[in-house]
Assembly symmetry: C2
Homo-oligomer: 145 residues x 2
Amino acid sequence: MDEQTVNARLDDIQSALQQKGHRLTRSRQKIVETLLNCGGHITADGLLELVHEIDPTVGRMTVYRTLELLSELGLIRPIYQGTGAAHYILLDGGHHHHLICSGCDAVFEFEECGLQEVGQLLAERFNFAVEGHLVEFYGRCPNCQ
Amino acid sequence: MDEQTVNARLDDIQSALQQKGHRLTRSRQKIVETLLNCGGHITADGLLELVHEIDPTVGRMTVYRTLELLSELGLIRPIYQGTGAAHYILLDGGHHHHLICSGCDAVFEFEECGLQEVGQLLAERFNFAVEGHLVEFYGRCPNCQ
DNA sequence: CTCTGTGCAAAGGATTTGCACTACG
DNA sequence: CGTAGTGCAAATCCTTTGCACAGAG
């Protein structure tokens, strides 16, 4: 994500926080900024490491709690592949599509999906404010077949 | 799942195991049988409890390892919602669709999806043997909006 | 000033590992 | 018989909790 986009998204997220009555601490700013810069798809600990490069005083707990907060606000989403650490992905109105190998857990990404209508349908039926979606196909990659 | 279906699936799974050179131990039989009977969508520990009802000598590790093995064979799939224990779902050629609330983590299930063609497309492009898929929509439920 | 947010350390829960033993094929 | 599978206990990894202190509004 280029710097301009990062700053725009940073503003969005900061206003979203403030609107919900959350404060804009220095730690949170650094965490969010780092998350945007790295493009998402990172674990809590991975993010902590990156944040420490610009400010080693930020604690692990703050990262965890900030990520939880952003999840509650619907701005990011944790995804759990395998049993290891959760990965957080940016949910900028977007969708994510993974193709995962049952054998070696390799992840491929792709773009297409025809789920806009389904999303609308669900929004109506369940009275849900749909914010994004994730599609995962499972199978075996060429090597593991 | 009725008993007849369970037995049929049990046979399928047992042959799948044997074909890959895995043994058919008593513990594994009981674990697979229990998994089929309960219909899937259960945690490793939950499954262990159920298995213990028919045989308390089966160890926790065997359950974990059997589930891992079945995952590798593409017969079941772990899904991770929130950070708690993994849930395993039966992947009998099927697909699963969840609507998840970012606020309270409630999960709703639904049926429709138009992903058969996408699956085929991916199978060709990536040379993947697609076995199933999971769709998750994120948003806010009526209570959390 | 007040109350949310922070950071530390310790607790908690789920899963994995090491190793000797068992039993399938 | 040989090797894959088993079971136990301890270890590990990720995440949460409790609590006193700090800083945003």
